[in-house]
Amino acid sequence: MSISIANIFSITNGQAAPICDVTAMDRRDFCQAIIEATGQGLRISALFGQPVGGGRTRLWAVLARDNKSLLLLLYTDIDGNRYDSLTPYCTQAHWFEREIFEQCGLEPSGHPWLKPIRFPTRTETAPRIGDADFFRVEGEEVHEVAVGPVHAGIIEPGHFRFQCHGENVFHLEISLGYQHRGVERKLVGGPDRRTLHYMETLAGDTSIGHALAYSELVETLGATSSPARAQVLRGIALELERIANHTGDLGALAGDVGYLPTLSYCGRIRGDALNMTALICGNRFGRGLVKPGGTGFDIDVQRRDELLRRLDILEKDLFVAIGLLWNSSSVMARFESTGTISGQDCKELGLVGPAARGCGVERDIRCDFPHGIFQLEQIPVSTCPTGDVFARGYVRWLEIQRSVTFIREQLKGLPGGDPLVAVGPLKPGRIAVSLVEGWRGEICHVALSDPDGKFAAYKVIDPSFHNWFGLAYALRGQQISDFPLCNKSFNLSYCGHDL
């Protein structure tokens, strides 16, 4: 049976809809619709279970139809504890189905590798972290390398298990969950006095991105529009966050191939970008800057001029520091053809952010699902076709330049008015989806409000959730010594994944 995608209920980014408007599907139609839609190029932005009582689980899917800027919403109620897995027909569903199994105890039958992804400690029966088996390659001269959870450096914890033949990696399995703090569970029943702080610390290097996704969700559920001035300030903050992190990443990529000039300079310049955020709100990571209803801080003329002055210096410093990379043959020799992913594999895996754009795939929320200031001001999508470490690095460099231009234009044309308005109470019985292009890629927040206007469910999908498997995939057939370089070229979040 064929399901027409055009008939599936859809909303736009940052729109709320009454849950009763979404038509329930039976489980076969639900699975069939996802398989057909993803086969036609749609992406899974969210796929999660919501316990609805009576031993039933409601499976929700949010499918992104990039070329129409539409988000398809569908759900099915499942009695019992199993359903037929989507993963054999739809690779993107792999990690989502493991999460559903872990969170709801609902088994996707036929899933090829059904293993916990976070090892929550609250369930007595579930395997403890470090206890589960790893995918294993056996044979003469095949050996296994285990790394983590504590890594060599100031890095978050995670475990990497390599199956190697000599220097070559057959397979890498990434086992996370060490950062699991139980945030999603605590978001239910909110918003409360901790909610915004949870958002800012889901991934502390993406405070602006997650706070923005949350704020836009609360605003749409509260039927409130943020003021124009706030939308511009939010756009500036989001792009400053992107510049700071991309700069740090390019420096670290240089460091991983032993090229110290760019490493040294970018380490410092990254701080300059963070300090520009601090100039706006006092905090280098933008804590307290983005909040429901607008922004917590405004900028006056002197502050704007100072930002413009610093932006000019930042741009000049970056051109010199990062320009060195592309002109150094020893650097390029290590960047090129390392950790390559094809455009086709990228689409099947459902990668997002610079990792996807580095495979030549045009995928950018700011362009595909414009919200806030991006509805008026488009930033061109930066892509690079080669799919390797170089491409992921070069996309970052292109994005830095375009973000600098964007910030400069926005600072010069700041609209007037107050940047903060009061947000109305959350409308009951609604579902809303908010997508933001964070510096790592698509941040997706989904909220369902209960009859009292509180969160009945709140789903957070950090871009890392889509991309960790991409990193594992990029390592296949690579030398194990290239792992740090490949890892840095993705630079994924552990805490954003583990929640």
Binding site: F119, T121, I154, G182, Y265, R268, G271, G282, R287, G323
Partner: protein
């Protein structure tokens, strides 16, 4: 080759003068060490307590627990009588947990750090950093101390890869149960004598995650802590100040 040399000239010498010179300028909107005015506080009003995300406020008399505070300053904004103010003070590190509670008797200044206990590390302190549920903000602002701007190495302080090479741990995050064993094993692998530095509200008290079943409300309940550095995250300057005072480099 020439472009590398030219870049070196263009980027200039950027290491801060501190502690010989003045500390680097922080944002004029930076929210640092708070001060309280209990005489202005009308305890019955309770507005600050209702909005504080981590219950960092104590009453009779009014005090703030820096170990819990996220420095969001919503309490100061909500107080109708101005009984709480956040200053630009960056010196907040303490040896004792109870000294992180800022009340009328500890206005504006830190209580100090027991330097004698750490005299072994005055010239060389190698730390193993363990992120245990940290959100990567404390980690990032610790990492930045290694960049040319701060150049932590000039004080003999470095972050090393192996706990066997370390004189102590610098811990961030609320310590999830899933990281407890790894943290304890890392601690045990550090040879004696050793120090434990905890950075950020999460590592001190659990921070915004305090009370979650999944976390241990910081490292202090699991390990003996020698230095508490508050903040969410602390400014790099606050972390540097704490480490320099721990090693007796500055008073």
């Amino acid at each position: 080759m020439l472009d590398i040399l030219w870049a070196r000239l263009q980027q200039k010498h950027r290491t801060i003068d501190f502690p010989k010179g003045p500390p680097p300028a922080l944002s004029d909107r930076y929210q640092g060490r708070p001060i309280v005015f209990p005489e202005r506080c009308n305890v019955e009003c309770g507005r600050c307590a209702q909005i504080c995300p981590t219950s960092a406020l104590l009453f009779n008399p009014l005090r703030i627990d820096l170990g819990k505070c996220l420095f969001c300053s919503t309490c100061a904004a909500a107080c109708p009588t101005g009984a709480i103010e956040f200053t630009d003070g960056y010196r907040m590190a303490e040896s004792l947990r109870e000294n992180l509670i800022v009340g009328p008797e500890s206005q504006g200044t830190e209580r100090g750090i027991d330097v004698k206990a750490h005299r072994f590390f005055a010239k060389s302190l190698k730390l193993r950093q363990v992120s245990a549920g940290g959100c990567n903000a404390c980690e990032a602002d610790t990492n930045v101390l290694g960049t040319v701007g701060w150049d932590l190495g000039r004080f003999g302080i470095q972050f090393v890869a192996s706990p066997r090479h370390a004189d102590g741990l610098l811990i961030t995050g609320p310590v999830p149960e899933n990281m407890r064993l790894a943290l304890l094993k890392t601690y045990r692998a550090v040879p004696e004598p050793k120090v434990v530095v905890v950075v950020g509200a999460c590592a001190i008290s659990g921070g915004v995650f305090a009370g979650h079943e999944e976390v241990h409300n910081g490292a202090a309940g699991l390990l003996p802590v020698d230095l508490f550095i508050p903040g969410c995250p602390p400014s790099p300057l606050t972390i540097l100040d704490g480490l320099l005072r721990l090693t007796g480099r500055i008073g």
